[in-house]
Symmetry: C2
Subunit: 227 residues, 2 copies
Amino acid sequence: MSGIELAVSTVIFALRPDAEGRLVLSLPLVRRIREPFEGRWALPGGAADAGESLADTAARKLAETTGLAPSYLEQLYAFGEPDRSPTGRVVSVVYWALVHGDEADRALEGENVAWFPADAHPALAFDHDLIVGYALWRLRTKLGYARIAHAFLGPTFTLAELRQVHELVLQKPLDPANFRRQIEASGAVVPTGERQTGGRHRPPKLYRYDTTIEPVDTGPLGAAGIR
Amino acid sequence: MSGIELAVSTVIFALRPDAEGRLVLSLPLVRRIREPFEGRWALPGGAADAGESLADTAARKLAETTGLAPSYLEQLYAFGEPDRSPTGRVVSVVYWALVHGDEADRALEGENVAWFPADAHPALAFDHDLIVGYALWRLRTKLGYARIAHAFLGPTFTLAELRQVHELVLQKPLDPANFRRQIEASGAVVPTGERQTGGRHRPPKLYRYDTTIEPVDTGPLGAAGIR
């Protein structure tokens, strides 16, 4: 044994309505109930388990602390600077996860579990501010070339819904006509032939990702799972 | 303590001449001198050290086993399936590294350290075949959008040298005129105003990467180091 403790933590993103009902890119945090950093907010996680894969531990800790099942879960990075914990050497293998909005609505909340805007959360314990910053950068980069928006949305979506995901994650308005042209030119989405149900005279068309095209970023390992 | 051992290993790539003098994308491997997998080749590495960052451990193990100092070192992935070692639970944080050709020439070699073609090495110990496959995929993907070719080449290079790196890594011939157009259109390289020294009547122009453009893939963490 090397005297190094191994932990697993997860940065979870979902689009959640704020007090005025506007959707905001948000993440759940857990308040620490013991030292070090007692009372500070931190990422959900805990010690690695000898009998479980790292991804399974990440998903289990997520379920235990927040009640959430992710629609996308991928390893982000192993953080291992010697001074990142004041009580001894801890290496944290960090995952990032996306959850659907309706799943996020079912999340546990309470005195010690709460959602915060991804760009406006309190200063976190340990090096978790750095970790959240890195996860946000990865999400924004990946949204540009990988098909992960549906992990916020579900299997079918309108182009307006897809554009809204991009706008909320990138935090800037996108021109609807330009967005439609870019998405259509990329060939990434295809019409399902159906329209959204609802009271409108001409409800918008539903699209899905074209599963016949390989996503560009699937390595031999792929993501831990897209469910 | 969780009963989990933490290890650090590195996949190192360099362009090395084969027996006929042709450059080949190659990696150094270390022969295991004890069980499990005694006699099988494996990636250089060893147990993590409680007082050192993971990247520092990766660089130190690299130097100890192969004598190499990398020009590029980046974390690849933390491999942690419960059954990946027959003698207990080991989580390996794996780095990948690139070394210049002249540095690779200085590498230690012997009965238990040798270079192999990246695509034609013996079956490796543990899950190291999977790890090398993932590192190769990362290298090939990254060569397309990030400025890592110079980690094989040094600070200045001719377009023919840069094309050769791409050809050797991607293992396919590239049309010189198309390659030149794509590289020039990308704006990634700029002429230094100098020409390669040598006996030729019109020696080729030297280029360098344009350091005023942010590489697209530098997250808040960046690579562990480009030296």
